[in-house]
């Protein structure tokens, strides 16, 4: 009577990587057949782009972020920049809720600081507020509008990170309209060629009123600044208003 048991080698050849792993464990292969199966596993591993990770969802999302227009635009502007891994995590963080953001940032904070210093932490802050997307848009806009070279764009981006505290105003509920105007005026007097005003929720009314008043009084044209504004809702559900001020020399 003919032996109808399938030849294990023939079976191994037909299996994909996932099935082969199960087959080896299920059949308790040993000896030469096991060695052949391992060789085949190696071949399959090298052939296709497989991976395993305890954070499959996180890895999938980060991979998707690396293929988004927003990220690719920044990468096109900056080239192989040290910040790219952080930018992806920053965009990822911006899409988490507050609890998720706090947990993730806490988990990797020490590693970020040790490897990337304060600039790395800053990118995470930009990510958790959702502001990172505005910065990416600004950089890619500068390339088109000013025809900046990659070196110019890298310098601009690093300046933003380096000077972040000096070139930003986060308007709070306790601020007055005059506080907003005085702080903006100070930044213009310091000849910052680029600065940002941000306001969350109710504080946006104060920021808006201050900027409108300064504009009506001709402060920006007098000092040689143009501004653009943007509004969005981040994943924490907060409304964010941002104003980007640029010296006309930058246009």
């Amino acid at each position: 009577m003919a032996d109808l048991t399938p030849d294990p080698i023939e079976t191994i050849i037909k299996l994909g990587l996932r099935e082969l792993l199960s087959y080896i464990n299920l059949k308790k292969l040993s000896g030469e057949v096991l060695e052949y199966a391992k060789k085949r596993l190696r071949e399959l591993w090298y052939k296709k782009q497989y991976g395993f990770t305890p954070s499959k969802d996180e890895a999938t999302i980060l991979r998707q972020i690396s293929q988004t227009d927003l990220y690719l635009r920044l990468k096109f502007c900056l080239g192989q920049h040290w910040s790219l891994p952080l930018i992806k995590v920053g965009i990822y963080v911006s899409n988490l809720n507050k609890e998720g953001q706090d947990k993730l940032v806490q988990h990797i904070k020490d590693y970020i600081f040790q490897k990337y210093g304060i600039r790395g932490i800053r990118i995470m802050e930009l990510g958790s507020t959702g502001i990172i997307e505005s910065i990416i848009e600004l950089i890619s806009d500068l390339k088109i509008r000013k025809n900046y070279t990659r070196e110019d764009l890298v310098r601009e981006f690093e300046n933003i990170l380096f000077e972040w505290k000096e070139i930003t105003l986060f308007v709070k509920n306790e601020h007055t309209i005059d506080d907003v105007i005085i702080t903006i005026k100070r930044k213009m007097e310091m000849k910052k060629h680029l600065f940002f005003v941000f306001a969350f929720g109710n504080a946006s009314k104060i920021a808006m009123s201050g900027i409108a008043k300064a504009n009506t009084e001709g402060l920006f044209s007098q000092e040689g600044y143009l501004f653009s504004n943007k509004y969005w809702i981040n994943k924490r559900g907060s409304e964010i208003y941002s104003w980007t001020f640029e010296s006309v020399e930058l246009f």
């Binding site: 080896i24 497989y50 690396s66 096109f76 790219l84 992806k88 590693y111």
Partner: protein, 84 residues
Amino acid sequence: MEAEIEFLDLSPEEKILLLNVLGFSVDKEEYIYDVLLKERHICPYTKKEILFQNASILPGSTLVINTSALTISEYITDKLEKKY
């Protein structure tokens, strides 16, 4: 066109088998062990030893890394993205 990638859902036994095929094992204290170098494997990003439960091998590589959002992101930048 970018390479197709797939993250596998594997049982601990299957992970160990795969690690073994790629030249690693898991030592008594559950750390990833480099069979060829005869020492604990060090994550190329965190420069630290890797616990089995926190180990990843990402597409396009045979290196084991410590898993966090940042190390995965660093890996994607290094290995999967086009170099402009």
